[in-house]
Symmetry: C2
C-alpha cells in the first residue's frame, strides 16, 4: 500500500492513470500531452509499474501501457476505514458555516 500511495503522490502519474482509463497507450502517446521527454515519462511509468498500477505489453518496440486498477481498490478499502471521521469533520464544518450564516442574518 505504501508503493500505491507513493505512486499516487505525483500529479503527472495521476494524469497518466486518468489517460489510461481511455484505453492502452504507448510511451510516446503518454508523453504528448505532458510536454515531457520520453525518459522522464518512462521514469514515471516505472514507478507506476512497480506499484502494480500499470502493466506493459510484451511487444519490445511499443510496450503499450494498460491500467491495472486493483491496488486502487485496496487503497480505497483502507481509506474507507476513516469515512466516519471525515464525515464528522465535514459535519463540523457544515455546522460552523450554518452558525455563521445565522449570525449574518441576525
Amino acid at each position: 500500500m505504501s508503493a500505491t500511495f507513493a505512486a499516487l503522490a505525483d500529479p503527472t502519474r495521476r494524469a497518466i492513470l486518468a489517460r489510461l482509463t481511455r484505453g492502452e497507450a504507448t510511451v510516446t502517446e503518454l508523453a504528448e500531452p505532458f510536454d515531457m521527454s520520453l525518459p522522464a515519462v518512462s521514469k514515471h511509468l516505472k514507478v507506476l509499474e512497480r506499484a502494480g498500477l500499470i502493466s506493459r505489453g510484451r511487444d519490445a518496440q511499443w510496450r503499450p501501457c494498460r491500467l491495472e486498477a486493483a491496488p486502487l481498490g485496496v487503497a480505497t478499502d483502507w481509506l474507507d476505514g476513516y469515512r466516519r471521521y471525515w464525515e464528522t469533520s465535514f459535519d463540523r464544518l457544515d455546522d460552523h458555516l450554518r452558525r455563521l450564516q445565522r449570525k449574518d442574518e441576525r
Copy 2:
C-alpha cells in the same frame, strides 16, 4: 492531494493516523508503540501536519495531536473515479479463479 498521498505512503504515518482515531495523543504517547525516537516521530508528525491530516494543540509543552480526516475524504473521492476499473479487474480475477476451479474438478 499529492501531499495527502505522500503522507500516506509510509506505514508509520498510517499507524499514527490509526492511533489518533482513538483520540488525541502527545508526541510521547505516539512514540511509545513504535519504539522510535521523539525527533523521528516529530518528523512524521510534521509531514502529516503539512498535509492537513493532523492538527496540534496550542499548549506549547504538550501540543497534543488530533486527526483531521477531511483530506482523506478528498483522496477517496478521487479514487472513487476508478471504482469501475478495479471492480472490472476483480471480476476478471474471479472469472480466472472460477475457470481454474472448474478445470480442477474435471
